[in-house]
Symmetry: C2
Subunit: 560 residues, 2 copies
């Protein structure tokens, strides 16, 4: 046995103090990169594409542009890939490019309550950081804003020790070369795409490309389903293809997901915090920061749903002067104020901040996905968790027999979406899966093993739209188990479950009736013939007997 | 229907730029506090206790002190609690107190490879931040280091906008008042505890106290099991008790978990990164930072398991001069170096950096937990994921019939531990649960529904010890699904499974034999009597026949 190394002598408070220091947020996530969705090469590639596409969609929609995005994955060596995403969005102002792509916790979406795909200011910088970690290469960005003649081309890395961008190169260039997606299946015409403005981001990284339920392909397909206003071009070029094919042939590799809606969804509104969802500490902070000079002003201007009279009522309940300085209240009487706020009745938060997919588009998406005998969808009314408005939607399809995708003995297939983003990984940890498992599907006609998800040829699509989606990790793959969210999901699932149950019972009854009718049609003529022979009836009488017998049997049997 | 508010006009690149800004790590986690384990009042209280106790244990062990910790939870109003943890650790140097307790991402454990409970520098500051958010109150710390006459008393809050501590009050005080835990059950003597040095941390927060499998009680109990060298005093005082009981009676509420080991476990060693676990980007960074002036020096001094000759071999394989400046290599030839490192054979990382619980202590802990007919445990040899040494251990108990805790039809009970910390939440997302579900328990004699955990009166304890445990979120409740970790867990589970199988077959055989012997003992005398009568034998012959029959039957039946 090898001798153990001698243990270090014990630490003291002083020797421990000498080791204590700050950890930069980049260092933290570099070491914990699985938290961001970069735990394996296959998942890393998917996460990177997702972060880039989500950003492109958010930017285009905010700018009122119908989004058009191309995604290319190109294998460079066995384990190394380059992901390039180009969009027709508004572009990014030059000074912001380095920070947006090479600084964690930077962006425009965190400090507001507004429904969007991104919300953390981490994703795309994390993808770049992963590329840098695994290949040493910088993130390349080319971006052109409206009115500018040339685009900015930027090469940037992240200094993980300080979480600051390091600009390696910055030049003005002609905006992206045109590219020519040619969809061999859907679109026989070759088309050339050239955007007036937009952003290209390209990251080289260690990766692995696979097909299947957890693949980039699946993310792209599902994104097209829940974003019917998106036109998307997608191609994957493996090392072998690149060697063997001409550039013109590579153009044939594009798959086009055509948009089916020619207009943008309703633009979601930004809202202010609702007083009932604000914790004491946040209330204190908001009073401290208020631009208002009076407590009443702060209450009615910084929060949603607080009218002047409501603000007065709150002040009265708290025993505070409405004209008091909010900064003073922040320190001394915030707790009384907080208690009063909980007691005063206020309208619920406004819900035009949410832009659900809607039952029609959900059904249309579902019909693209699965060939079924029965489809149904439901969009619940908006409600609130921790002061944040949210809304859930569920669609259900009962597949035709013989569909490849589904199988009567398999668990039902659950497709999860949050703010129109497909969630592929970590289904087991998601409030959506938990809600599906929690509904009593047996009473709706499905087999349902204890504690698990139900079984059957069923596909479920679940969507949550919220100004702030609570994810279980920074990789945004699963929804946290907030009771309010699980409750809403359960109601929506029960609703489609009841409709499924009605369909299944009707179908069962119809099958039963068909079977019985079949018997009647088969045997009555023989019975009539027998009776006619015994009683020596003529043909006309025989026909009448057939009619009467049929009528009688249908009445007694088919209506039960 | 209320008119929709008019949508804002579309954004431009310029208007979006104006909204982009930095997000402080405190703001981020304040909004995402469920990531840190503060999603519900009940869980928040448990998480806060866990973070404080883990810190106390780490500090005492590093300072070579046998840990003694008291934990008090006191209900103040219906929804408000105060948690106070006092330890006999080395104390904290005055200047460090504010940052350790009111700054996220600050500490001594992140920038090293060493087995410890804390590893992020987030936990205790997050607990204080949650207290501040829900009650507006500051964290109180009293700490006394060795040799100082007085203790430092500090009141500190966190400025979430900047992630910096705000010192509210700092005074010198007599070190904590003595406290008198009196264990009504285990220890009839009242004892007074007064430490020579240590730290007290006290946080007021919104909370909820519950019993059961996810409670603070359970965390405390399991902590005592896997830390047999820990002495722990614990009491919960509800509002009602505090009103009704005298202080002396409240002293009777302490439960004492006595230590059963009088010495510390082996102190784990700190190690340097192993070259095979270092990604290209980290390699570049390390070369850049190396204090060595030559590449050979950097390789052999900054990494573990690289001898001088091994360093030469790597340089040769990369076609690089061993005397080259590592900073130059970092920029130009790091990829060649990286490839060469992967190709050169090196010893695996040293494993004296790990301090497993060990089979004996695991069994002892298990025996405390459950009254069983069969116990077994296995500690695997250390191995490596992403360059990080780790080691897994599993104990299994097959409970006596009638044990309350376990039931033949219920799923087996799985207790999870990482670096001696009990993991209570998020079992569904944990690599340990996945490993348990993945083993073929049917072949070891347990019922095992497809895809789930096996069923039976079985308790499993799983432990991973590592210099860096990869958790699925900052709340450190579940282990990420690294294939190397799942593989080791599976081997360990199969090992205890085989032993269980042997026990269960033996027991089945023994039961079978006992049943047969029972028959033989019951009927042979009657048969012998019959034969004796028929054949008119004397008593001696009858006895011989009994012996012969018994012998014959045992041979034929019992040995099959």
């Amino acid at each position: 046995m090898a001798a153990k190394r001698k243990a270090k002598k014990p630490e003291t408070a002083e020797s421990m103090a000498a080791q204590q220091r700050e950890i930069s947020v980049s260092e933290f996530f570099l070491k914990n990169r699985h938290l961001l969705g970069f735990d394996s090469p296959a998942k890393a590639l998917g996460t990177a594409v997702k972060e880039a596409v989500d950003n492109s969609l958010d930017a285009a929609e905010e700018a009122g542009i119908l989004p058009e995005i191309s995604v290319e994955i190109r294998q460079l060596t066995a384990k190394r890939f380059r992901m390039t995403v180009i969009d027709n969005g508004p572009g990014i102002v030059q000074a912001q490019i380095p920070k947006i792509f090479a600084k964690l916790l930077y962006g425009s979406k965190f400090h507001r309550l507004k429904m969007s795909r991104g919300q953390q200011g981490i994703g795309i910088s994390a993808a770049g950081m992963y590329g840098q970690l695994t290949t040493g290469q910088a993130t390349q960005i080319i971006s052109k804003t409206k009115g500018k003649k040339l685009a900015q081309s930027v090469l940037v890395q992240i200094d993980t020790r300080t979480n600051k961008p390091v600009l390696l190169k910055e030049t003005e260039v002609e905006w992206c070369p045109e590219f020519s997606p040619y969809d061999a299946v859907a679109d026989k015409e070759k088309r050339t795409v050239r955007y007036a403005h937009g952003t290209l981001v390209s990251i080289e990284m260690e990766g692995s490309y696979r097909r299947g339920k957890l693949s980039v392909d699946e993310y792209i397909k599902q994104s097209a389903i829940v974003n019917p206003h998106l036109q998307l071009y997608y191609r994957v070029i493996m090392e072998k293809d690149a060697e063997e094919l001409e550039e013109q042939e590579l153009d044939m590799c594009w798959t086009t997901y055509f948009r089916v809606l020619k207009h943008l969804p309703d633009l979601p509104m930004e809202i202010k915090p609702h007083p009932h969802g604000v914790e004491l500490g946040i209330l204190m902070q908001m009073l401290q920061d208020s631009p208002s000079r009076t407590l009443r002003g702060a209450l009615s201007e910084d929060f949603s749903r607080v009218s002047g009279p409501a603000a007065n009522k709150i002040c009265e309940a708290a025993g505070l002067n409405p004209k008091a300085n909010p900064r003073r209240i922040a320190h001394h009487e915030s707790e009384a104020l907080y208690t009063a706020i909980q007691e005063v009745k206020l309208m619920r938060p406004p819900t035009d901040c949410l832009s659900p997919i809607g039952e029609d588009d959900l059904l249309a998406g579902m019909k693209k996905e699965v060939d079924a005998d029965f489809y149904t969808a439901t969009t619940r009314n908006p409600t609130v968790y921790r002061g944040n408005p949210f809304q859930v939607e569920v669609a259900l399809a009962y597949a035709k027999p013989g569909q490849e995708e589904v199988n009567a003995d398999d668990p039902v297939r659950v497709m999860r979406f949050a703010n129109r983003v497909p969630l592929l990984y970590m289904g087991g940890a998601c409030a959506m899966t938990k809600s599906v498992a929690g509904v009593k599907w047996k009473s709706y006609g499905l087999n349902h093993p204890k504690g698990g998800v139900p079984q059957g040829p069923v596909v479920l699509m679940l969507h949550i739209a919220s100004v702030w989606v609570p994810f279980t990790s920074e990789s945004k793959e699963a929804i946290a188990h907030y009771p309010e969210i699980i409750k809403e999901l359960t109601f929506a699932l029960q609703d489609v479950g009841r409709k499924l149950s009605t369909f299944l019972s009707k179908r069962k009854r119809a099958a039963e009736q068909a079977r019985k009718r079949n018997y009647i049609e088969m045997y009555i003529p023989h019975m009539a013939l027998g009776i006619a022979e015994i009683m020596d009836l003529d043909e006309k009488q025989e026909v009448r007997i057939v009619d009467q017998l049929t009528d009688m049997l249908e009445k007694t049997h088919l209506e039960t």
